[in-house]
Every structure is written in C-alpha cells, then in structure tokens.
Amino acid sequence: MGLLSPQDEATLRQHLATITQPVQLLLFTQTFGGSESGPVAKQILDEIASLNEKITVVEKNFVLDLDDKAKYKVDKAPAIVILSDDVDTRMRMYGAPTGYEFVGLVEAILVAGTGKIDFEPETMAWVQAVTTPTHIQVFSTPT
C-alpha cells in the first residue's frame, strides 16, 4: 500500500508538472546495520518518481559506493542527494523524508526541476554575494 493517498498523489502530480528538466534523487542507504528508515525513504522517493517521468531515483550503497559517497560528501545514511540534470544542487536530506521533511523534499525537487528560486530580489542578492564556503544544517522532526 502506498504512503500517499490518491488525493495527495493528484495534488503532488499537479505541482510536479511544472518541472522542465530532469531531476535525479540519489538515495544512499545501508543494507546491513543501517537505519530502518532507509526502506521508508526509498518508498517515498519511488512514489514521488512515479508521478513524473522527469524524476528518477538512483540507489547507492552507503558502504560500497565509496566514490559517489566522497563525490557528494555524504557522511551518514539514509541520505538523499538532489541533482538537477545530473548537476549537484548541494541540497541534501538526511533521514526519511516524512512529515515536514516531505514538504521540504518536494520544494527542493521543484527548485531542481524548474531552476526557479522563490526569493525576494533583495534576499537573492544577499545569497548570491556569499563568497566563502557556507554549510547550513537544518534540524527538524517529522511532526
């Protein structure tokens, strides 16, 4: 049984219809000794990808796929790396994207798939003026 209701699927499909470029969701999970949320994350991503053909899910093994782990600087699992037409967006999600995290994931997919960033012009200018490496971590819970 799906995690999304038919009504949620219809709403989400409508939002995702604005996507114009391919989005790849790299899912790093650990099969043995890993978190139970890995399979949940995979089901969520598969359900999202089933709603729009431009979205694909690529599974990576956190223990074995060391090159990709290093390339995308993934240090914990489950991890979702969001690519826009194979280009790293530098947006990551760690843990199963349920609850509030699900909304964040959908918004990140929309940014990756449309190239549109919904900032006020002044805010965008501040962000684009950053010239030093800046690592932002946002902690949240599903409810």
């Binding site: 978190s35 949320s37 600087k73 914990k76 826009s84 967006t89 530098r90 947006m91 990551r92 999600m93 760690y94 843990g95 199963a96 995290e101 964040g104 994931l105 940014v111 990756a112 960033i117 900032f119 006020e120 002044e122 805010t123 965008m124 501040w126 962000v127 684009q128 950053v130 010239t131 030093t132 490496p133 800046t134 690592h135 932002i136 971590q137 946002v138 902690f139 949240s140 819970t141 599903p142």
Partner: protein, 61 residues
C-alpha cells in the same frame, strides 16, 4: 540558498534519527539551524530575517 550559490550547501537533518548530531548541536527544539558550526537559529523566521541571520548580516534597525 544552496541552489542559488555554489558556495552554499544545505542539509535537512531528521533530528530524531541522528541523535549524536542533535546532541552535538544541542537541538532541544525544531527547527534549529546551524551555519558553519558557529551560527545558531532556533525556530522558523520570515525569509529575509532567516537569510540575514544565516549569513551573519547586520540587522536592520
């Protein structure tokens, strides 16, 4: 922010799943944002206030 500038990386972390990190950053309420290990923002803020705080820009009086 990450999508707008290649110098920025943004991680959304499920706090209950990564308890060691939550303890490290003393996450007692959510959302809690940590920038470069130095800036802490607790709670949600309007867009401009959040970006200003995250980038360490001076506040408008």
């Amino acid at each position: 922010m990450a999508a707008a500038n290649p110098m920025i990386t943004a991680d959304a972390v499920e706090a209950t799943e990564f308890m060691d990190l939550s303890r490290k950053y003393r996450v007692t309420g959510v959302p809690k944002t940590i920038v470069n290990e130095t800036i802490e923002i607790l709670g949600g803020l309007p867009e401009q206030d959040f970006v200003r705080a995250a980038l360490g820009l001076p506040e408008v009086s």
